[in-house]
Amino acid sequence: MAYNTNQLKVVYGDASLGLGGADFHYLFSYERGGLESLVIDGKEWLYRVPMPTFWRATTDNDRGNNFSVKAAQWYAADRFTTCQGVQLRVDDHHFDELPVAPLNNQFSDHETATTVTITFQYVTSTVPSTTVDVSYTVTADGNIKVTVHYVGQDNLPELPALGFRFIMPTTATGFDYEGLSGETYPDRMAGATHGQFHVDSLPVTPYLVPQDCGMHMQTKWLTVTRNLTQNNADRDQTPFSLRVEQSGQPFNFSCLPYTAEELENATHMEELPLARRTVLTIYGAVRGVGGIDSWGSDVEPAYRIQADQARTFGFWLKRV
């Protein structure tokens, strides 16, 4: 069928929901528990489903004040959080049960909708656990509003980070954003200038021991640009971009070639793996870096992330 700019094409698959438009196609996988594919203009943007993230690679001060030890549960949660529920709403219709076979036998190959919201419920591997609900609302123009809701729980340590992480299949050539200059944290952003900035490639700040780095606070928008895909039939190297826009509040992000775990594993820069992907994390809350000393003093209270406090953050994913 011909695409209609006022309607999303909806594919009620047996294990996923497909949403398409003239120049995009998204797959929400019930099996994988998240957004499995984000294709825009024929280019895949996702390596694995985006997941909530809770860890930051231990900074020297985190090590010095034992924060990483106290927060170690979140390291596991960063790796082993699982999806335990999916909710689907297509226009006004909420599916009480996911429309897989035989429920999807009722559909055709020309289903449409104007707005689809699909919510994945992630349960952390912490003890006790807590829940993060991630909802994607897709409109006919292909824009995706992502909302992350961290429910929170008593009796859990402060969080090293609270974010949502996208891993892209190839390394970015760079990124552009409007926000603050340089590497900023909530307790280190007074010296930054506001403006639009371009960053070439995916620099990792070369701290002697690799650690959390590359944070950008209070960002209005971000475009990540790549020029390569893993698609064997795609030989085109024309740069292509994905845009993240603030929804309500500005967002925080880092765009690196590594996950927190990869950074955590290295004791020297040269031990980091060869850069082959792009790790874009949008943070709803960032822990400060602190600075009084490196052997015990904690980050100032205002810059810590309490586990029992519910938090919601959101942003738009848009085509460029």
Binding site: T59, P206, L208, V289, G291
Partner: protein, 630 residues
């Protein structure tokens, strides 16, 4: 005189036949040389030296200093340089514990056994490696028939010197120049200068700075020719009048030489535009005190406007022929600790937007170049850094003049840290602390104060003398303070370690200095009707990705006049380039990466700059807070 190996063990032997410390003035034959900055009276001995490495004193080549010694089994080494970075000995980084931790049991002499010097602690130690250096030289033409000195600007950690087979002397204090008189033994040609450098001596107990532990001749070596009348020491005392308009310059020189009789000194003062504003002539004698030079209007030196005047002294023989010319740039500025317990400079409250700076280069360690120093000055000026604490030793000679010229306040610190004698794994346990109240260690540390003062007394950039770092406190450190107070009323004295010994509070530091104090505790101090202004001698420990929350410190500047800022720890990461065979790249390595144990690993990576002098991201934050007007 014979060299005695056991001097290594004895804290009371720290300089033997060494020339007295003196001002760091340059001297030239004439104005042309002065313009070029190259004096015919200075001849560098930097470069390739014959070198033998022994892992311990017993294995050292005994007669290597004899002119006829066979050096065929010697290697060559580049001077200046660290023996470890030349590949002879293991690199080690350790913070507070002594580098021999867990390998050798040692206690400082005269501590646990107060009456007895334990011989062999260093002189017979298996871990005390020895570098034997030999340099052959002929005298340049300008040196013939002149007195000749040799000047070692930095040698770690103890050195013995011979010329042409004759023993000249012994020196400790790794970061202070050591000079010896070669005149009795020097020849026009074929001189053999021999230097034996020990990695450890009793000085090791008071040189326990948080740094890579090196040995060797690591700063410049120069031959100095002294004209028949020579200014050995220049003492400039510029003062600012109470109205902050005019000023007075007092000049005293110490002279030596065979032609003092009939010689004269012609002194001229020029302002920052080069205009002559005063002159005076005095007859030469051992000590010449010029009549006070009074000026109705002087431009004051400050970080914002580092105005420098210049004194030029022409030394003329009895016939009126010039023997040498001594230029020195100086400045007028007034440092006051007033009754309101606030420090003022030039009638304005002092605010220290400072850093601690180790000398560092990722390829050559503490052997740094003029280009490194100039780059550091530029970085400081570009980021509103107005002060440097020379942690924890005197820096290379040019640094002080660069700071005068650029407008960087200096807290000029002695070479002193005995951290491992009083703090063990964080706990305060001073049972074997030196120098403490120990009379056997007193002279060694007072000599360090003396050297620091005498070398650098003429620099307007210096507003504090600092007695050292993290050495606890006792009568010996009080005696260092007393030395400065006797000689200098134009600057303040700083020392942090007196926080551990409140009974010495009035005799050690003009300021309440603390390190890594939490803002709330600083407030508590400042709200307690205190008697001294507050300074952070170290704060904002910038290890890896840190430096957050600086606002909490910066805000105190607006709330409390007696809060006068601080020095961030620290300026540049200490890490070393190593070629990594796995990636085939030069990479930065830190403690432990040389199989060195015990080590404190990455703890030396606390800089605002990475070890390659590129800025860390946090520097923009420092620039902001240090640029605020208070």
């Amino acid at each position: 005189m014979q060299a005695n190996l056991q001097w290594l063990d004895d804290p009371e032997v720290f300089r033997v036949n060494q020339l007295p410390a003196h001002s760091d003035h340059h001297y030239y034959y004439d104005a042309t040389e002065q313009q070029s900055g190259r004096s015919r009276f200075v001849h560098s001995l930097n470069g390739q030296w014959h070198f033998n490495f022994a892992t311990n004193p017993a294995d050292r080549p005994l007669d290597f200093f004899q002119p006829e010694a066979d050096l065929s089994n010697f290697d060559t080494i580049t001077v200046p340089g660290h023996i470890e970075l030349a590949g002879y000995a293991q690199v080690q980084y350790i913070n507070t514990l002594y580098p021999w931790e867990g390998h050798q049991y040692r206690r400082p002499a005269y501590t646990l056994n107060q009456d007895k010097l334990a011989v062999g602690v260093f002189s017979q130690a298996a871990d005390n490696s020895v570098g034997s250096y030999v340099k052959h030289f002929d005298l340049p033409a300008a040196f013939l028939n002149q007195r000749v000195h040799v000047q070692f600007q930095g040698v770690e950690e103890a050195l013995y010197v011979w010329l042409n087979g004759h023993f000249l002397g012994y020196a400790e204090d790794s970061f202070t120049p050591s000079e010896f008189d070669l005149t009795p033994y020097v020849q026009a040609t074929g001189n053999v200068l021999a230097v034996r450098v020990y990695k450890r001596s009793s000085a090791a107990f008071i040189e326990d700075q948080d740094m890579f532990r090196f040995s060797g001749i690591f700063r410049d070596v120069n031959l100095l020719a002294l004209p028949a009348v020579h200014v050995d020491d220049l003492d400039l005392k510029p003062t600012v009048n109470a109205d902050f308009q005019g000023g007075v310059l007092n000049v005293t020189t110490r002279l030596s030489g065979s032609q003092l009789t009939g010689a004269t000194l012609h002194l001229c003062v020029t302002d920052d535009a080069g205009t002559e504003i005063a002159e005076q002539t005095q007859a030469a004698q051992t000590t010449v005190t010029f009549e006070p030079l009074r000026f109705d209007e002087v431009h004051l030196w400050s970080p914002d406007q580092p105005t420098l005047y210049q004194v030029t002294i022409d030394v003329l023989d009895s016939q009126g022929n010039r023997l040498e010319v001594v230029p020195y740039q100086f400045g007028f500025r007034k440092v006051e600790l007033r009754a309101d317990h606030v420090i003022y400079v030039n009638n304005q409250r002092l605010i220290i937007n400072g850093v601690n700076r180790h000398e560092w280069n990722a390829r050559t360690g503490r052997v740094i170049t003029m280009a490194d120093m100039q780059a550091d000055i530029q970085t400081m000026k570009a980021h509103n850094i107005n002060a440097d604490r020379t942690c924890h030793y005197p820096d290379q000679l040019p640094w002080y003049q660069l700071c005068d010229q650029a407008g960087i306040y200096l807290m000029a610190e002695n070479n002193l840290e005995s951290h491992g004698t009083w703090q063990k794994s964080g706990a305060i346990e001073p049972s074997d602390n030196v120098p403490g109240d120990n009379p056997h260690w007193l002279e060694a540390v007072v000599d360090r104060a003396r050297s620091n003062y005498q070398w650098f007394k003429n620099h307007p950039a210096i507003i504090f003398w600092s007695l050292g770092n993290e050495s606890y406190a006792g009568e010996d450190i009080a005696a260092m303070q007393a030395y400065y107070k006797r000689h200098d009323d134009s600057r303040l004295v700083h020392y942090e370690g007196v926080v551990h010994t409140p009974n010495l509070r009035d005799r050690i530091s003009d300021v309440e200095s603390r390190m890594y104090e939490k803002p709330a505790n600083i407030v508590a101090y400042l709200e307690s009707n205190p008697d001294k202004p507050f300074l952070n001698c170290e704060y904002m420990h910038d290890m890896g990705n840190s430096l957050g929350g600086m606002k909490s410190y910066s805000d105190l500047l607006d709330r409390y006049p007696m809060y006068q800022g601080g020095f961030i720890w620290d300026f540049i990461d200490q890490a070393l380039y190593v070629h990594d065979p796995v990636t085939d790249q030069d990479v930065l390595r830190y403690g432990g990466d040389f199989d060195d144990r015990h080590s404190d690993y990455e703890f030396s990576g606390d800089g605002l700059l990475f070890a390659d002098r590129t800025p860390k991201p946090a520097l923009q934050e420092v620039k902001y807070y240090y640029g605020l007007q208070h």
